[in-house]
């Protein structure tokens, strides 16, 4: 075969390959277009002028169910392929329409309580939400016919339901309190239900809200962390310590072994909330402990009783440790500003700060002995830090004094060399003049 013939055959083969590829792409495009689901519900509803009727179609684009391939008829039934309203909403084709409030949990539960069905979409998702819901105050009231209570859509919204990990979801941690507050912060809405409506306002002042909204700590507790979500119920006096103990485990454990436990049980006082309150939990400070005005202990204890003495001693030991840490920090900072290397003692001083934190936890045992077990070593660490600061400043003084002495010698030596130069040059001048 000549070279020109070979090139021509190659060109034909190349063109045929391109044509085949184009045909294949066209086939894929046609197949994909035909395979897309028709939804006459969306097509009609999105054009409706009444926002109540058009909103579901508009919101559905962002819905997690839409993302997972579900459509209107998967919840509402009917025929999405029909081109007429009657055909689409034909009861013979299973059209259910808008559910009543009382039916919503079961409506969602059709799928969400079906373990084998949910495995197809999200195998890790729990399927007991509906069952749990009926153990909640909301669920119990719904069963009695009270329709003001929250159902699935009250919290998760409807048609625009987002995954709980989506920051725009109404049940994303930073949005939960606002979602609950929609009902619980409305005095009008809650009227007749026998519960206050100031929980949200109080929560916003709490240390937990501060962590959530100011520090953006999404692990900070919000409503559902203490009350539960689907089974939302007030914890009650008997179990409040268990609720707080989920995070504050050590404090809860110490409280259980403290003399307060029996006394609180006897007086039917809520374990943690009696001192810390419930929704408006402020950042605890040492000022809450002790026997002076403004402390919490004197609310129950009087001068001379055992608890009064213990509270006074615990506070005094903690104050002593704070004072010692401050003193050591101050001298170490002073040494550092003077250019001394004190990073090691500063690091070691963290041991005293750790002891202080530990002591602040141990006050939940209400035992001055337990508190002292960590305060005493903390004081030793702080004292070592102070000694290191003193030593660093003494070393600085030594260096300066040493410098002064050295400079005297150095200048003296320089003077001697200078005099030697003068002497040599005088001799040289004398020699040059022939004297």
């Amino acid at each position: 075969m000549k070279i020109s013939e070979h090139i021509s055959a190659s060109r034909i083969a190349w063109r045929l390959s391109i044509a085949a590829l184009q045909a294949l792409l066209l086939l894929i495009l046609v197949t994909t277009t035909c395979a897309q689901k028709k939804s006459s519900c969306i097509e009609c509803h999105i054009k409706l002028e009444d926002p109540r009727l058009s909103a579901p179609a508009k919101l559905f684009d962002n819905d997690i169910h839409h993302a997972r391939g579900l459509s209107c008829n998967d919840c509402h039934g009917g025929d999405p392929n029909a081109d007429t309203k009657e055909g689409a909403k034909d009861p013979r084709k299973g059209f259910l329409g808008k559910p009543k409030t009382a039916d919503i949990p079961a409506y969602c539960g059709k799928c969400h309580s079906d373990a084998s069905l949910m495995k197809r979409f999200n195998p890790s998702l729990r399927v007991d939400q509906e069952r749990e819901y009926y153990t909640s105050v909301h669920g119990k009231l719904l069963k009695t016919g009270e329709t003001r209570v929250a159902t699935c859509i009250s919290c998760h919204s409807v048609h625009g339901i987002r995954a709980i990990s989506d920051p725009l979801s109404s049940v994303y941690p930073s949005n939960v309190a606002e979602t609950c507050a929609k009902c619980h912060a409305s005095a009008d809405y809650m009227r007749g239900l026998g519960i206050p409506s100031d929980q949200y306002a109080k929560y916003k002042t709490s240390v937990h809200a501060q962590a959530m909204y100011e520090k953006q700590d999404m692990s900070a507790p919000t409503c559902n962390d203490c009350h539960g979500n689907h089974g939302a119920t007030p914890p009650g006096i008997a179990s409040v310590a268990n609720v707080c103990g989920q995070c504050h485990a050590r404090q809860a454990e110490l409280f259980q072994t403290s003399p307060h436990k029996a006394a609180f049980d006897q007086k039917e006082l809520g374990e943690c909330i009696t001192c810390h309150s419930n929704h408006a939990i402020r950042k605890p400070s040492d000022q809450l402990l002790g026997t002076s005005q403004g402390t919490l202990c004197i609310n129950c204890h009087t001068n001379g009783d055992k608890g009064f003495v213990a509270a006074g001693q615990m506070r005094s030991r903690i104050d002593e440790l704070i004072g010692s840490i401050d003193k050591s920090t101050e001298i170490l900072n002073r040494a550092e500003r003077a250019g001394m290397e004190v990073s090691k003692p500063k690091f070691e001083l963290k041991g005293a700060t750790d002891a202080l934190t530990h002591a602040r936890v141990l006050i939940h045992s209400s035992s001055e002995g337990e508190v002292d077990k960590v305060v005493a070593p903390g004081l030793e660490v702080a004292a070592k830090g102070y000694q290191a600061g003193v030593a660093a400043l003494a070393e600085r003084r030594f260096r300066r004094e040493g410098l002064a002495v050295s400079l005297v010698f150095i200048l003296f030596l320089a003077l001697l060399v200078y005099l030697k130069v003068r002497q040599i040059e005088r001799r040289q001048a004398t020699g040059a003049n022939g004297v």
Binding site: G339, M340, E341, S343, K344, R399, R400, G402, L403, S406, L407, I410, L411, L413, A414, V417, Y418, K420, V421, I424, E425, Q428
Partner: protein
């Protein structure tokens, strides 16, 4: 040779002392560096702790370390003064071309000493300064990327970079510096002290190099020890915090003062100049100026040309003003 050597005495004689002062500070560096080597451990796990040990536990370790750091900075300062005095006094005129070239090479070696030594305590500032410094090398077209990988011992500043910099700092650079200093000093002894063109032909007083000039040098060196001791005692060189590759870079990070004019220039250059990357143009410009330094004695050879003298004086003043101005600007911004 040195015994027969004589040093001219005139109003610019003071500048003759800066070469000897730089040499003295280099000797201080070698002596204190050897002492630091007794305790220093060149690894990312141990470097910081070993320097901390030197300055807190070793007897007079703080003094040795502080003198090493201060002396390094003073040496770079005296080297700059020496270079500019040689430039303005035209001490590079024939037959001193090689003396000038060996001096310029020594300037770059000393800067490399400073750059490599800065990382060795493995503290936060040094870590990020090295990161930025080596990144600048990396933007040089064609050779930049391989050079960056060579300097860092990988893609990032790690323990491998520290080991490498340690090798450069205590072996490669000292060896190169010793050879060049030998050549430089030998040439100075051979050619004698240069007389500025403005004083050439005029009758000048002379002093013997040994002992007159050498003893005067000695006074300067003794006083330098005093200055180093005072700086070390009153302003001990900080250690800072240990380097952490995962920590954010400290705010307002700046290089050592002798790199600041270049750093500030690169900050002020717009990101794009026509089609080219502004940073690349800036770095190439500095490289070009560095190359120009080598050819100075071959371009300006004639003491008679007043026009050329004016041009070179103006260029020198411009360069000096630029370096000082940009350094001050870098510190105040």
């Amino acid at each position: 040779m040195a015994k027969k050597k004589e040093v001219p005495v005139h109003r610019h004689s003071i500048w003759y002392y800066f070469g000897g002062m730089t040499l003295f500070l280099f000797i201080v560096q070698v002596a204190t560096g050897i002492l630091l080597l007794l305790y220093y451990r060149p690894s990312s796990e141990n470097a910081f702790e070993s320097v901390q040990f030197i300055i807190t536990e070793v007897k007079f370790g703080w003094l040795i370390r502080s003198i090493h750091s201060w002396s390094a900075n003073l040496m770079i300062a005296t080297l700059f003064i020496h270079m500019f005095s040689v430039f303005f006094l035209r001490a590079y005129y024939p037959p001193r071309e090689i003396t000038w070239i060996s001096g310029v090479l020594l300037l770059f070696i000393v800067i490399c000493f400073g750059f490599s030594g800065y990382l060795l305590p493995w503290n936060k500032l040094a870590f990020f300064a090295t990161k930025v410094g080596t990144e600048i090398v990396g933007v040089i077209p064609i050779v930049g990327r391989p050079m960056l990988r060579f300097l860092r011992g990988g893609d990032d500043v790690t323990g491998a970079t520290l080991t490498r910099f340690f090798g450069f700092h205590v072996a490669v650079l000292p060896a190169a510096a010793t050879v060049l200093i030998g050549i430089h000093v030998l040439l100075v002894q051979q050619h004698g002290m240069s007389v500025p063109p403005s004083l050439a032909g005029k009758p000048l007083k002379k002093m013997k190099f040994v002992p007159n000039f050498l003893l005067r040098d000695l006074i300067g060196w003794i006083l330098a020890i005093g200055v180093l001791a005072a700086l070390a005692a009153l302003f001990p060189w900080e250690l800072g915090e240990k380097a952490d590759a995962f920590a954010p870079a400290p705010a307002g990070i700046k290089p050592e003062w002798y790199f600041l004019f270049m750093f500030q220039t690169l900050k002020l250059i717009p990101p794009k100049i026509w089609r080219f990357d502004g940073e690349v143009i800036g770095i190439m410009a500095f490289n070009f100026v560095a190359l120009l330094l080598f050819i100075v004695p071959f371009v300006d050879r004639s003491p008679e040309s007043r026009r050329r003298r004016l041009i070179f004086n103006s260029l020198g003043v411009l360069a000096l003003t630029y370096i000082v101005g940009m350094t001050i600007f870098g510190y105040v911004t």
